[in-house]
Symmetry: C2
Subunit: 165 residues, 2 copies
């Protein structure tokens, strides 16, 4: 879980600098709208996730915060991450016990993730909440879905092409 420079969402290159600013601005607007407080710690954690543009472990983030004097104990980062994930600004990747900034932020969406096991980059894909066989299976079983986890591990285009494994 080392921090490295990165390419983009969907494994495609894009204008990274502006995407950070845009996302932050969107988050700020959304918070103002919903009377949520994007406090310094919360804002900085989101920013760190946006800059990394890949999944980061809570303790990796904490290390950065510590360097910057913004907090030094685990609860600091976990509280910020709780806030960010609860409000859709970031997502938890269960498979990695890690977190990633939300790409796109449409309210109430059900994201799916493609995780490259080599370069560790993560792409986010939008998916209808109860779509697909998971939803059908739930209906069949009389199960009420509240949240879904859809994560695929494998090889991203770049890593699949180069020496894979």
């Amino acid at each position: 879980m080392t921090a490295q420079p990165s390419l983009g969402a969907g494994f495609a290159r894009h204008d990274h600098g502006s995407c950070i600013e845009d996302s932050l601005a969107t988050a700020e607007a959304a918070c103002a709208q919903a009377r949520l407080q994007l406090t310094p710690v919360r804002r900085r954690v989101l920013e760190i996730l946006l800059e990394a543009h890949r999944a980061m472990g809570a303790y990796d983030i904490l290390e950065r915060l510590r360097d910057e004097g913004l907090g030094s104990q685990p609860p600091v980062v976990y509280r910020a991450l709780d806030f960010l994930t609860a409000n859709g600004f970031a997502h938890r990747i269960e498979r990695l016990n890690a977190f990633i900034a939300c790409a796109g932020h449409k309210a109430g969406h059900a994201p799916a993730f493609l995780i490259c096991r080599v370069c560790n980059r993560v792409a986010e894909a939008e998916i209808a909440p109860d779509a697909g066989e998971l939803g059908r299976a739930a209906t069949r079983a009389g199960f009420v879905i509240e949240r879904t986890v859809r994560e695929a591990t494998g090889l991203c285009p770049a890593c699949a092409e180069g020496g894979e494994a």
Copy 2:
């Protein structure tokens, strides 16, 4: 993660005693076939999972093993779980950091899970490997899927009916 008596797969009642025996027999046959060793520890861990018939944490299982003198340190249970999951006899539920016996065991299947957040029971549903939007998203992105995680959290029929939350 306390062990409790339970009902069944798919949240439906079924003959539990025989389902344990059947699954164990199937596992034994499969191991014999594939020249895999279903050693005492491995067999017992599978049995524990089958009896619980719900997701169990590794340390819950370890506690049982310890009581029975079958092993007392974490690596014991993790190695057994690695074996069982690698060979399709059990599955890891990422969302819960827990494990569950496989219901059905068809080779090379891609299971999905319905997890009740109240009673903690888990139902397993069979799903085509790259089916659905996750597969389509991967194709679009040029991503090679090796493994998928599909887990839905919510309310099982019984808990949805009674006082939910």
